[in-house]
């Protein structure tokens, strides 16, 4: 399409609506409207990009998106920031529309009416071949009106449910607990609807059917107008769209009427935003402790040793006590031909001692080698403490055989 010269700068009040001009371009959107669109487009895209993966966390596409964004926490932060941007944009729009209506008395052209129902019907007839041409759309077609209404409905639902999920503790001061999962259900359903509607409806009408650049350039050619808004073009051609001149006095008066509304809206929006950004500390950074019990707590009887207590012998003699004890504990090494020549199998051999001399000195346990070695500990076949004590008593009692 050729780049055609833009209209000359008009007086402020005339910028709001298209005026019949000899130039072949027709103004559709002013700078404010175009800026709102871009801001809305960006925030919407970011919200969808960071929100849908949260709705479908098991999808591999979600993995990829979270991976690109650096994790779900970052995605949530972007989601929250985009939501704030969208709310700011919506506030601007809430301020803008009444200004046009109150101050300029701009006709309401965005609200669907009976004409639009007829247009849908006419279009269906046209698609089926019962009509030669499409319905004659006015300033906004039913497709555009539908989208605008959906957007308002969607934004309101998303803002309210989003606030509820963002600030559940505050919300639940006034509502039952179920409100939060309910908000989540609505938020998710509405998100899906909005994104799919944008793809099916918006993309088709302004990107596929024809690339409608007027939302970025602000203007439409006569040819495009003829295709998209023939009734509007006709009205312009007939001179019906020339805005009446408003005296400055009237304008000032209307502006004064508008002022309280703007003040209240701004205050409310500012208040809401201030709280929304970081109103509620929903969760503290509590670290769940996991298992708190002491991990290594061995049972006292972890490695039980066979320490049978030796009962007090009936008689402290070789035959009844010492002989069997030494037989059990010592004769493995100190048997016949025992280590160091010591044989502890019989009383006489035991009293004979080792090659180096006797190991049992009657009446003198302290000087008996057997007692000395066993007292030092660490001997293979170590006697237990009370066993050794009985041996000591036996030696000190003269080491009787019977």
């Amino acid at each position: 399409m050729n780049k055609l010269p833009k209209m000359p700068r008009l007086a402020r009040r005339d910028r709001k609506r298209p005026v019949v001009q000899p130039q072949p371009e027709y103004k559709r959107f002013d700078l404010l409207q175009r800026s709102e669109h871009i801001l809305f487009l960006l925030s919407f895209t970011l919200l969808a990009l960071t929100g849908l993966p949260q709705k479908f966390p098991l999808s591999p596409i979600s993995d990829w998106i979270f991976g690109m964004l650096g994790g779900v926490e970052t995605a949530r932060a972007i989601h929250h920031l985009s939501a704030i941007a969208m709310i700011i944009m919506s506030t601007v729009h809430i301020l803008e529309v009444p200004y046009r209506l109150i101050v300029f008395r701009t006709p309401i052209t965005m609200i669907p009416w009976l004409d639009d129902v007829r247009h849908v019907w006419d279009d269906i007839l046209y698609y089926l071949g019962f009509r030669k041409h499409k319905a004659y759309y006015g300033r906004y077609s039913y497709a555009e009106k539908m989208e605008y209404l959906s957007l308002i409905w969607g934004t309101v639902v998303m803002a309210i449910t989003g606030f509820m999920m963002w600030n559940p503790i505050t919300t639940l001061k006034f509502l039952p607990g179920e409100a939060i999962p309910a908000a989540k259900a609505a938020h998710g359903g509405e998100a899906l609807l909005a994104v799919l509607a944008i793809i099916i409806w918006h993309f088709y009408h302004v990107h596929i059917k024809m690339f409608n650049k007027s939302m970025f350039t602000g203007y439409m050619s006569r040819e495009e107008m003829h295709h998209e808004h023939p009734a509007e073009l006709a009205a312009i051609d007939e001179g019906k769209k020339v805005a009446p001149k408003i005296p400055l006095k009237t304008l000032t008066l209307r502006r004064l009427m508008y002022l309280p509304f703007a003040g209240v809206t701004l205050a409310a929006a500012g208040f809401a935003l201030f709280y929304l950004v970081d109103y509620e500390n929903t969760a503290i950074n509590y670290a769940p402790p996991g298992e708190t019990a002491k991990v290594f707590a061995p049972l006292p009887t972890q490695t039980p040793l066979p320490t049978q207590a030796v009962p007090t012998p009936a008689a402290l003699t070789w035959t009844s006590f010492v002989g069997p004890l030494l037989q059990q504990k010592c004769t493995v090494c100190h048997g016949v031909n025992g280590v160091a020549g010591l044989n502890l199998t019989t009383y006489s051999d035991a009293m004979k001692g080792a090659t180096t001399g006797p190991v049992i000195v009657s009446n003198d346990a302290a000087n008996s080698l057997l007692y000395q070695i066993q007292s030092a500990g660490g001997h293979p076949g170590q006697l237990q403490a009370n066993e050794l004590e009985f041996i000591k008593q036996w030696i000190d009692a003269g080491a009787p055989e019977n």
């Binding site: 269906i124 001061k173 359903g189 509607a197 009734a231």
Partner: protein, 403 residues
């Protein structure tokens, strides 16, 4: 110069090669996991020489630097014969390699534990797989960090009374084995055992030998016991619980929902944990996993009046750990693993129902209109190739089509 006869040369070379071959030949037979071919050679029916000393119940020595540690050298022959190794006839020296026939048998050690740790490597001769797995376990890591008391093979399996734990026919654990498992872990983890013993799982196992409930190893693994305090374990843990809790074959008997994982993943906390687990399994998150609310080892029945989570006040206490300002409405923001229905959480149910119809209710007419518009444009394009151009010229003339 002396000429060496070629025969001597060859004989010398052959001898050298033989010596070399013998010396580089691995001392141990190649490890096989279960097949007892390697052990066959170890079977020596005559353990009597060893038992001459070691069957004496009072065969103790004192060891250690200060000679304060008493070490029993007693081996109960009857118990060994009834062990899995005794049954297949492995002899003492089958395991006690490097045995020297002198007092002390050439063993050098500073403490009982040092001796056990040193002997522990012997198990790997036949049980290489299990030994390798254990090397990656939290116990091996603890030992590497100097905590020598951390469990080794014999601490759980014993040295001479090793029992058969699996039914060789089915490969499944014997029912008695399952009861032994917590008692075995209890030896070192007595406080955790107490918690488990009184949990819904522990009671069912100990008092009823219920085959459906988990023992320690069902969550912590065998041999390759993972460190349960890591961020990764935490993030993986819901799947651990889900192993049984999504299995209708186990859960239906007890009337427990198998939707617990789905419903958890679908909610705020579970979504975050799932995404973390998939994308950054080592990152720390305080978003709750199953055990933060249901208990780690002291898992209670949800209807328990003291701790059960169906009692709102009990659940609120769990919520308030992270959400200190939560009021009594707050626990209901979590759907308690229920799938919304007209009876349970009807508002959520009806909102979902609304969108089930609202979304296609809006999108289908849109799609139909779009498709018809597109279809018509295509029809126009191919049937009346010049019609578009005509209209264009028409328009440029300024002629108005408005009715």
């Amino acid at each position: 110069m002396i000429r060496i006869h070629p025969f001597i040369k060859i004989a010398g070379l052959a001898t050298l090669l033989l010596i070399l071959g013998v010396s580089i030949h691995p001392v141990k037979a190649a490890p096989t996991s279960q097949v007892p071919t390697a052990q066959k050679a170890l079977i020596n029916p005559d353990d009597s020489a060893c038992l001459a000393c070691h069957q004496n119940p009072n065969f103790n020595i004192t060891i250690g630097i200060q000679q304060k540690e008493t070490l029993s050298l007693f081996v109960d022959p009857s118990k060994f014969q009834h062990s899995v190794h005794g049954e297949i006839g492995i002899s003492c020296i089958g395991c006690h390699e490097g045995f020297k026939p002198e007092a002390g048998h050439g063993m050098v050690y500073g403490s009982h534990r040092e001796l056990t740790l040193r002997m522990n490597t012997i198990c790997a001769n036949c049980h290489q797989k299990q030994s390798d797995q254990e090397k990656d376990s939290v116990h091996a890591a603890a030992r590497a960090a100097g905590k020598l008391e951390a469990a080794i093979c014999t601490d759980c399996h014993t040295a001479h009374e090793v029992q058969r734990l699996k039914d060789p026919k089915t490969g499944q654990l014997f029912p008695t084995t399952r009861i032994w498992i917590p008692l075995t872990c209890q030896k070192c983890h007595s406080t955790i055992y107490e918690k488990y013993r009184n949990s819904v799982h522990g009671i069912a196992l100990t008092d009823g030998n219920n085959p459906d409930v988990p023992t320690c190893i069902d969550c912590h693994g065998v041999h390759i016991i993972e460190d349960p305090t890591t961020a990764k374990f935490r993030l993986d843990s819901p799947m651990l619980c889900a192993k049984c809790h999504t299995n209708p074959a186990i859960m239906d008997k007890y009337g427990i929902s198998t939707q617990v994982l789905n419903t958890y993943v679908a909610d705020f906390h579970g979504t975050t944990v799932t995404i973390f687990e998939k994308l950054s399994p080592d990152s720390v998150t305080n978003k709750p996993v199953c055990y933060d609310c249901h208990g780690v080892h002291d898992i209670t029945n949800v209807n328990d009046p003291q701790k059960g989570l169906t009692i709102k006040q009990n659940l609120l206490k769990k919520c308030q750990r992270c959400h200190p300002n939560a009021n009594t409405n707050f626990p209901d923001a979590w759907l308690s693993h229920y799938i919304p229905s007209p009876q349970k959480y009807p508002i959520v149910y009806y909102i979902n129902l609304f969108y089930t119809f609202f979304i296609p209710g809006i999108l289908l007419p849109m799609a139909v209109l779009v498709l018809m518009d597109f279809g018509r444009a295509m029809v126009n394009k191919f049937t009346k190739p010049h019609s578009k151009k005509k209209i264009f010229y028409h328009t440029s003339d300024g002629e108005d089509h408005h009715e």
